[in-house]
Amino acid sequence: MTQVDTETELSAISDQGNASKFSFGVLQFPGSNSDQDCVNAIEVLGHEAHYVWHKEESLGHLDAVLVPGGFSYGDYLRAGAIARFSPVMRALADFAGNGGLVLGVCNGFQILCEAGLLPGALIFNRSLQFRSEFVHLSTVNSDTPFTKAIPADQLMRVPIAHGEGCYFADGSTLNEMESHGQILWKYATAQGDVEDHANPNGSVHGIAGVCNKAGNVAALMPHPERACQEAIGSADGQWVFRSLIEHLKDAK
């Protein structure tokens, strides 16, 4: 596995001299708990991150929005079911409708599915237990804003921490998603094989993350924002954020 050298990366960014910092919004719902990790990840990569409180009706000027992990509203009713009615979600839907980049992680994935911004749904892990461990992710479509910087055949070792992470979509939805390249990541072994045994929660086809048809809204159950520094176990999660940054740079 390629070692990512954070120090080198950061100095590469600052070497660009006047390279501007992109501005990421991180939504905050009551009960979000990985919001801070999203901010931490963006800052490690040398860009700016701001919290956006769930009661806000406008996002302000942002280059991309992250919908973080946690237990918004205590996971009451269903994970993400209440958050999707928050005032800020209207602004998010507009932002996404206009092509803005949105990445959801864990509870963020659940919220985006509940809000209809992504296909499918997340249900209880087949084991009926919370699962917290590092997994390997294989990138299925590397031609998206969320995956373009990930080197070919690069597996990402990132942690999961969820009770309701089993992705489900019916047969016809899955076919459509597959034909449009909407499957982004799958659970794999350390050797890169997408096998049942590598799947921690029973997700159909081992799906860990997806995007919408337009390709600007994506989400995954594993936490790349918790894998941005070797010191805390892995820096592979950086590839996802670097893809976003690269896409934003290309778009300028």
Partner: protein, 772 residues
């Protein structure tokens, strides 16, 4: 409806003795009413007052140059970690509720300890837990185990802190009396330390959190009695129900509020809820408090003053606010959509006055209630059973004839086996602070600037970015050792925690203890407590790791008997530099394996087998004397190891504990895991010396103390052995890292274990039992 008359029966039902009732009459100068009786009953319960144990606890060392808030002053102790930063930590039990309702008992145990941390003004950054259950063969034990682990996970995961370390023991003595000890640690700057005192006459008193209901009614009193089948059923209502989401909101709001400077005092409503928080804050402030219960948010109509005062509904806080700053409180709690109510004010009478519908229903002296519970000096008698256990003749036990099977069986034994079935249910990565995940000797956390609570706007340190800090923590406590020799067992619990910290590169800073024992009225059980505390105190003093606070849980017994006396010790240490962080598994082929310490202690007639896992598992015995613990030798070894770690010489360090040397070596070879189903197995070739009188089983599985296995690049071996000789520390080369097997040679014997098979036995043992 008129209050019930106070009868001897009613007094007994409240767990108060006749003498205690007389003392109440004397303190009040009159008879109490039912509400007041209830208040005394909870405040003077063992759980709240420590009436049976206070004289013993005085023996603990509680001060050092690093202690900022010592034990006994506030809800948790606080220790300086340098650069203006500090840590607040504590361990607490929730044993009785978990026996009755494992999920809620465990979940509220975690909730309670987290509150104790943020009530000090600290942001909790991690949780750790120590659990004990009966044998897993029993379906009832499996039910309790499953429920407790799910409950702990539920609270920590939803609240949003990583649960990063722990221990689980299975032994028949805990059947019916599981132990659930929950620890949390939080971080703050010195200026952010908050106190639980009701300061300032006229200051308003706020209640924040969900409405008060009838759950957990008199939980403190329930915790202070033996469990019987009858009591379990009746007391189901005494088990509190937790809501981690609510607590998360409550914490964020409280930390935000503390940053405004509007808070004069803050305390969580834990055991004895509104009663304890009002009278303790008044007692600390040397003031009085008056509250009107009509203002307290209530879950249902018609709650009596008794019920409201004794309820242990969770996630509630008591906040004393500087007069004039009430609007800030309201603004912040409204932002977080948290229920709040202004329920009273601080007075200067020293009385705790409770009104209901405008009428006084309780009027009690706060300081007497909080600080003047009776103190008992219980009788202590050396137990009869010790004659039998100390009568064990090692010669009557045949030495091992199948070492290979022995190691397999021990590694698969649930107490020793991998606990991944447990910790894979705990989020251990949230908040990006975990540097060593569950699976090594100690957890290591980093404290980064965003780990800290938000600073007040006018703080002079607003623009000061503190450096990162590295903390290690471990929780330990071998009940079998304490059963066989409470003093030595107590010392070992502390020594083992210190040793685990040393193995991770840390220097001990402080300790918190949870004393889990049986009925203190039984002189033999009280003797266990007394001696264990003496051992803990001596060891904490020696390691310069003062006790910052802790918990006592007594009456852990049921008609079948008492638990093994089990003091659990959680120790926190500081690692100077991230390059010193060390883990337990072997790293590189070719590294040399050294053993620090001596395997066979000539002072130990049981050669390390007394009270050992091997004796239990292979011979069904819990007898003998536990291994001896020489605190001076231990400390020297830990210091030496830290020195070598700082020199960059150490690749891995792992201490010998349950299962002895062979088990520890096995763990060094197979315990590394980088992801799901991705273990990193690495072999070792070991050659051990043995003299004629050494038993083979003692050499391999004896639990002699003060031993650490280190792996070192060969270039460093000379330096280490040379320095060890100068320091008079026994260090010996025992082998080399490499190969596909664990291979141990003793004299002409050669024992080999296939690593995959060993790993499977160890890693999947508990999963097989629980998921079949």
């Amino acid at each position: 409806m008129p209050d019930p008359k106070i009868t001897p029966e009613l007094i007994r039902q409240h767990n108060l003795t006749d003498e205690e009732y007389q003392l109440i009459l004397k303190q009040l100068g009159r008879e109490p009413n039912i509400t007041e009786l209830g208040i005394f009953s909870v405040m003077w319960s063992e759980h709240c007052s420590y009436k049976n144990t206070r004289p013993l606890l005085k023996g603990f060392p509680t001060r050092s140059s690093n202690v900022l808030v010592p034990a006994g002053e506030e809800n948790a102790g606080v220790i300086d970690i340098g650069d203006g930063l500090a840590v607040a930590f504590k361990i607490e039990s929730h044993n009785h509720p978990s026996a009755v309702e494992p999920f809620q008992g465990a979940t509220t145990g975690v909730g309670g300890i987290i509150r104790d941390i943020f009530t000090m003004g600290a942001r909790p950054i991690c949780a750790v837990n120590s659990l004990r259950f009966g044998n897993l063969e029993s379906p009832e034990v499996r039910r309790l185990f499953r429920g407790v682990v799910a409950g702990i996970g539920h609270y920590g995961n939803c609240f949003g802190i990583p649960t990063v370390a722990g221990e689980v023991y299975f032994d028949e003595s805990y059947e019916g009396n599981p132990l659930v000890n929950a620890f949390s640690l939080g971080v703050l700057r010195h200026e952010q330390i908050a106190r639980g005192a009701a300061q300032g006459t006229g200051n308003p008193v706020f209640y924040v959190g969900p409405a008060t209901g009838r759950d957990g009614l008199a939980g403190a009193a329930f915790a202070s009695q033996d469990l019987t089948e009858e009591s379990a059923e009746q007391q189901r209502g005494a088990v509190q129900v937790g809501d981690p989401f609510m607590e998360k909101l409550c914490m964020e709001a409280c930390l935000e509020l503390l940053a405004t400077g509007a808070v004069a005092g803050i305390q969580d409503m834990g055991a004895a809820g509104l009663t304890c928080s009002t009278c303790e804050t008044a007692a600390r402030g040397g003031t009085g408090i008056e509250i009107e219960l009509d203002k307290v948010p209530q879950r249902g109509p018609g709650m009596s003053p008794y019920e409201i005062m004794l309820s242990e509904s969770q996630e509630r806080m008591l906040i004393i606010v500087h007069k004039g700053r009430e609007d800030e409180v309201k603004r912040i709690f409204d932002k977080w959509d948290l229920p709040w109510a202004e329920i009273g004010f601080v007075t200067d009478t020293g009385q705790m006055v409770v009104k209901h519908h405008g009428e006084v229903v309780a009027d009690l002296p706060a300081a007497k209630l909080a600080d003047e519970a009776p103190i008992y000096h219980r009788e202590a008698t050396e137990p009869e059973y010790l004659k039998e256990t100390r009568g064990l003749d090692l010669h009557s036990i045949q030495d091992t004839t199948d070492v290979e099977a022995d190691l397999h069986v021990l590694m698969a034994w649930p107490t020793i086996a991998s606990k991944n079935w447990v910790y894979r249910q705990y989020d251990y990565t949230v908040r990006n602070g975990t540097m060593v995940h569950p699976g090594s000797d100690a957890a290591v956390m980093r404290v980064k600037p965003d780990s800290l609570p938000v600073l007040s706007e006018d703080s002079p340190n607003r623009d000061v970015i503190p450096p990162e800090k590295y903390l290690a923590m471990s929780v330990d406590g071998n009940g079998a050792y304490v059963y066989l020799d409470p003093y030595e067992g107590g010392k070992i619990a502390v020594a083992e925690a210190a040793r685990n910290l040393a193995c991770s590169g840390a220097v001990p800073l402080g300790t918190t203890d949870n004393l889990n024992f049986g009925n203190p009225h039984n002189p033999e059980l009280f003797w266990q407590l007394k001696e264990a505390v003496r051992g803990l105190a001596d060891a904490c003093t020696h390691f310069e790791a003062p006790v910052t606070g802790g918990n006592v849980s007594l009456y852990n017994q049921n008609p079948k008997g008492a638990i093994d006396p089990t003091p659990t010790v959680a120790m926190v240490g500081l690692i100077e530099d991230p390059s010193h962080i060390t883990t337990q598994w072997f790293k590189n082929e070719g590294d040399v394996i050294l053993l620090i310490g001596e395997s066979l202690d000539s002072d130990d007639p049981y050669q390390g087998l007394g009270g050992s896992a091997y004796l239990k598992v292979r011979h069904g015995l819990k007898k003998g004397l536990p291994p001896r613990c020489d605190l001076t030798v231990e400390k020297n070894i830990h210091n030496a190891l830290r020195g070598w770690i700082a020199q960059g010489a150490i690749q891995s360090a792992h201490d010998c504990s349950e299962g002895g040397l062979a088990v520890a070596l096995g763990e060094c070879c197979i315990s590394r895991e980088s992801a799901r189903h991705t273990p990193h197995l690495i072999g070792a070739e070991i050659q051990l010396k043995r003299s004629e009188q050494d038993r083979l089983d003692a050499l391999l599985f004896g639990e002699t103390q003060g031993r650490i296995i280190i792996s070192v690049p060969s270039v460093f071996v000379g330096k280490i052995t040379g320095q060890a000789e100068v320091m008079d520390i026994p260090v010996e080369k025992i082998g080399t890292v490499g190969g596909k097997t664990l291979s141990i040679g003793v004299d002409k014997h050669q024992f080999d274990w296939d690593l995959s098979k060993l790993h499977d036995a160890w890693f999947n043992s508990i999963d097989r039992i629980m998921e079949s």
